[in-house]
């Protein structure tokens, strides 16, 4: 396996991003709908339906309504989904069926730039989704400002991390149907057990320890901490986790894709 070197990356990387942006912006009216509607659906279902049974909960020394508790988690999950699904299904289609990477390799671009550009784009999708959702949630009065503004860099960081995880899956799966495996074994458990819909403290001790290994746990902690103004020292640890994981996984994703494509 050959690790990417910084010297291999030029500004041309942004051309790959631009290609995906051009295609996305053509259908922005449709692409904008899910992040705008999703929080409303969840708030309706959980806030009206489930919250009646759950009521309020104690979290971080404050009493929160259940809707307020899950709102940051919804944004975190959207950050994960947007990036992960972009670099799995969408990137795989471009790589395997559309031969987009082949076409780009016949230009001055190199493979390292193509893969990085794809991941930057996936993180951008996370940012767009997180921003739109946060606007809706803020309009419902569920977020605190200025802390919620931290979601912009967090969406980019989390987006890059999950984009890298998705790209690693793309580099390893033999066929597109195999994405079910990382989704079933990784994404869905994270969706449920990362402090998203209930506080991690509700889990048995060993399960809490496992949850601390999951990247979504730390993204949820940071997003919730910032958007609801729960400031604590452990947020720095979560940030460190995300930064370090991204710093390792991003080049790893590029190296694995190079290993897959270059023969």
């Amino acid at each position: 396996m050959i690790w990417p070197r910084p010297a291999q990356i030029s500004r041309r990387t942004l051309r790959v991003w631009q290609r995906n942006f051009t295609v996305y912006s053509r259908t922005w009216k449709i692409s904008f709908l899910p992040p705008l509607l999703e929080p409303l659906l969840y708030i309706l279902a959980f806030g009206v339906g489930l919250a009646v049974m759950v009521g309020e909960l104690q979290y971080g020394g404050r009493v929160l309504s259940y809707t307020v508790f899950i709102a940051p988690a919804l944004v975190s999950v959207a950050i994960m989904y947007n990036a992960f699904f972009e670099t799995t299904y969408n990137s795989f289609v471009r790589m395997y069926w559309q031969k987009t990477y082949d076409a780009l390799l016949a230009t001055p671009l190199n493979l390292e730039e193509i893969i990085l550009g794809e991941m930057l784009w996936a993180a951008t999708k996370s940012l767009i989704a997180a921003t739109l959702m946060s606007i809706v949630i803020s309009l419902c009065g569920l977020f605190e400002f200025p802390g919620a503004l931290m979601l912009i860099p967090l969406a980019l960081l989390g987006g890059l991390l999950f984009a890298a995880l998705g790209m690693i899956c793309t580099a390893l799966v033999p066929g597109i149907e195999m994405f079910n495996l990382p989704i079933f074994l990784g994404v869905t458990p994270m969706f449920l057990f990362s402090g998203t819909f209930f506080p991690l403290q509700n889990l048995p001790g060993w399960a809490q320890a496992v949850a601390q290994l999951l990247p979504l746990t730390h993204l949820v902690a940071l997003v919730r901490g910032c958007s609801l103004h729960f400031w604590s020292g452990t947020l720095w640890l979560s940030l460190l986790y995300l930064l370090m994981a991204t710093a390792v996984l991003l080049p790893l994703a590029i190296a694995l894709m190079v290993r897959r494509i270059v023969k």
Binding site: R12, R15, A103, T107, P108, N110, K263
Partner: protein, 302 residues
């Protein structure tokens, strides 16, 4: 001047020697052909030329630049038309050209102008806003070729440009390629269509099993290696065989068909048709296909 210099190029996949120490040069302004049956190593060779596939050994120099030092500069100056359709299905015909120009850092204004020129040259103007999915195979090929020219390359690399096209599309592409050559563009193409090579190539190599078998001008190669003309005899009987056995000539026996390679004149053909039989006997000029089959054999490859 040599625009491409390939020296002892080698690529091995496990036990398969895809390319075994191939060397050739492409001169400025010429069309150079890489001919060979399927699996001969043509595409692998082409892919190593633009860094898509890393080589195991050998030296590659394009425009006097070493591929290891100046791959980006080299890729900026060549146009590559790959064998498989790699058009962007998310974009329209025009956007495929303009969008592709961005990867070469060509200004928006220049790329729009260039795209318009290319659409006109390839008679695609009326399809400019069409989606790729509704284009026929011939139109897609034309667009692939147009896209390969978007950066105004000094060298055009074509990997089997007309495979799978109908005769009309093929004729049109050949005309366009000939026109590009007249303008001074150097072309390197792979093909297994002999008509294509005879029509376009100034010089060519025939490769098989990763090795170069012959190199030269197509007409010279045919004359030297095959002869001037070929006498074909369908359903030969013993009388014909006896007649040929008494003559000094090269005969290839395919069972229900005989091929007789003639170096000069048509004396043998006249004698045969006068003295033995006329039906099923055809005299035709020797062609590249005769040479190709002679060198690479007649058995099926895949």
């Amino acid at each position: 001047m040599d625009i491409v210099q390939v020296e002892s190029l080698r690529k091995t996949y496990g036990d398969l020697h895809a390319v075994k120490d191939i060397s050739f040069n492409v001169r400025k302004g010429e069309c150079f052909g890489l001919l060979g049956p399927n699996g001969a190593g043509k595409t692998t060779t082409i892919r190593m030329l633009y860094g898509y596939t890393p080589r195991d050994a050998g030296k590659l120099t394009l425009f006097g630049l070493d591929i290891d030092d100046d791959i980006r500069e080299i890729k900026r100056r060549i146009g590559i038309c790959q064998q498989e359709d790699s058009l962007d299905p998310d974009l329209s015909v025009l956007e495929n050209l303009v969008g592709y120009a961005r990867y070469f850092s060509i200004s928006k204004q220049r790329s729009v102008q260039r795209a318009a020129e290319l659409l006109e040259f390839f008679a695609l103007q009326s399809r400019a806003s069409d989606k790729i999915a509704i284009l026929s195979g011939g139109l897609k090929r034309r667009l692939m070729l147009a896209r390969a020219l978007v950066n105004d390359p000094e060298l055009l690399i074509l990997d089997e440009p007309t495979t799978g096209l109908d005769p009309q599309s093929r004729q049109l592409l050949w005309e366009k390629l000939a026109a590009l050559k007249r303008r001074g563009l150097s072309i390197l193409l792979t093909t297994h269509y002999m008509e294509e090579a005879e029509r376009l190539c100034d010089r060519l190599v025939i490769v098989d099993h990763g090795e170069i078998l012959v190199e030269g001008k197509p007409s010279n190669l045919v004359r030297e290696r095959v002869g001037h003309s070929v006498l074909e005899i369908a359903e030969p009987d013993q009388k014909v065989r006896d007649f040929l056995a008494a003559e000094t000539c090269r005969v290839e026996d395919l069972g229900n068909r005989l091929l007789v390679y003639l170096d000069d004149g048509d004396q043998l053909f006249l004698k045969l048709t006068r003295e033995v039989r006329t039906e099923g006997c055809t005299l035709r000029p020797a062609g590249l296909e005769d040479l190709f089959l002679k060198l690479t054999g007649r058995e099926l490859r895949e």
